[in-house]
Amino acid sequence: MSINRRDFLIRTGLGFGRAAAAAGFIPGVGFIGSALASELADPLAPKAPHFPGKVKSVIWLHQNGAPSTLDLYDYKPELAKLAGKEVPASFLKGIKTSTQGGVGKLYVSNQRSWNQYGESGAWFSNLLPNLAQHADKLAFIKSSVTVGATHDISILKLNTGDVNPGRPSLGAWINYALGSANRDLPSYVVLYNGDREPQAGSVNWSSGFLPAVYQGTPFRPGDSPILYLERPELRSAAQQRGSLDLLKTLNNLGAAHRPEDTELRARLQSYELADRMQSAAPEAVDLSGESEATKKLYGIDDKTSESYGQVLLRARRLVERGVRFVQVVSGHPENISDQERRSWDAHNDLDGNHGVQARMVDKPIAGLLADLKARGLLDTTLVVWASEFGRTSWGESGSGRDHNPWGYTQWIAGGGVNAGTTYGATDDIGLQVADKDKAVDTYDLHATVLNLLGLDHLKTTFLNNGRSERPTVVYGKVIKELLA
């Protein structure tokens, strides 16, 4: 076989290039470790946690608009006594009250009543009669705090740990750290009810500086969770497979030249995932096989709770199929045209707003907890009730409440959780955290969730532009009292 000078240079050059690529050489970047090289080849491969996790999946129930936990869980007899009076100065010490509505008089609805439930004796208001039956499954965090008093900023902090866009969401970190447990479905799914995507946008399920493949996949409400997922009738499955194979070959050629291009890798993965999802996703969210009793359990027989119930039933089905992180953003029931009742943001008419919103979520969340328990899934699933902030003890517009980042309630339930307990407290009027050492910021909640998944938040790191980044930024403390 004859070989000319040009062929020799091309062949030896390509050979060196292949060897270098196999060894993890990235032009302009240098050599990367073998683990990282394999991650680039298959970024969603399952990875071992740092220690055995208590749960496999998380259902993150973001109550959008910030409910008044003072009207749901945080019973304050002293507030009832002081209702209608100015806020005593001692309660305002150390907080900046520049929220939009200013400081009004202390407020308590005359429609509110309270009872204790379960062996734990947890307090619930009359707004959550069904969830109250599960009191002993919950671990309350009554000393939640956050930063900011505007929804979009605090929602971003709730999901990413920072008030500026650009950081990965908690679900993306988990996806990155643990990989996928079901290659036919996205391992990080975002669900919502209502007629549009959540107001604060996709930055809340973004992968930030992590490779794009780790971002969340939003599923739309209704029968078609992902637009254009179904194969057109005129194209056969074999034709589609052939097209995808050709596309994959061409894209792989491009990717071999640009191994640092995570967007391209994510796109390659997404074509294949979309192909597999064409059968897996519709089945995963198809509720037709669920019994009437199950649908009723989730409140699907009630117009107000129907859409949220469907979303939570889908969440259970996704968790059942190995999806790691299901981020559920509450919306509003169908046929609600009143803008004031499309989220929990009750600046006025709190009774009207929370009457709708609480009825929308109460039965579905109670149903989810009961259903997970009955199927043995509650031991391996973590359910988190979270919100961007709470609401003030003082009234706004005569019948509402303003934003409160200084002290509010969130809860967790499921595997490894110290159920039937309460961590922290607010002051006597429910305005600020009573003991600052027990304040639980979003970073601490994230660190605790990661711990239950077997991840040390300090060791869940990613090198971004030479800086070692972690989910909890420079903060984060696992709240051990919340763990069983």
């Binding site: 150390g94 900046k96 300090l458 800086r467 070692s468 420079v474 903060y475 984060g476």
Partner: protein, 126 residues
């Protein structure tokens, strides 16, 4: 630049607390503290002992300046207590890094960030 900054801090500390107390603990200064704290967290994660101990020393010196500033200002008991705690934590982190105990250095660095946050909760810009 950084060396000269550390040198400047050392000189000021040598000059005594009266001069230190006159230093304005302003936005720029606090931003430098914040950046150094982030750099410290990064260097602990990367197990970079030299850079990490440098950050810890720098932070310890800056917290000494903050302490002197609030002592001179008066009526700031909380700030002084938290700053003293932060100074001690910075020193401890430096020792842990020298002993290559990165796990505990990481935990203490998280405590330090929390202390910073606590102080800012007390002293908000109005």
């Amino acid at each position: 630049m950084r060396k000269s900054f550390i040198g400047g801090i050392a000189l000021l500390l040598l000059a005594g607390s009266v001069i230190s107390a006159q230093i304005e603990v302003d936005d720029d200064f606090m931003r430098t503290v914040e950046d150094t704290n982030k750099s410290l967290a990064n260097n602990i994660a990367l197990k970079n002992v030299a850079a990490g101990t440098g950050d810890a020393k720098e932070l310890e010196a800056m917290f000494a300046m903050v302490e002197a500033f609030y002592a001179a200002k008066g009526d700031a008991h909380d700030a002084i207590t938290i700053t003293q705690k932060s100074k001690a934590l910075s020193h401890e982190i430096g020792s842990l890094l020298n002993a290559k105990d990165f796990d505990n250095a990481n935990l203490k660095a998280t405590d330090l960030s929390r202390a910073c946050k606590d102080c800012h909760n007390f002293y908000k810009k109005s």
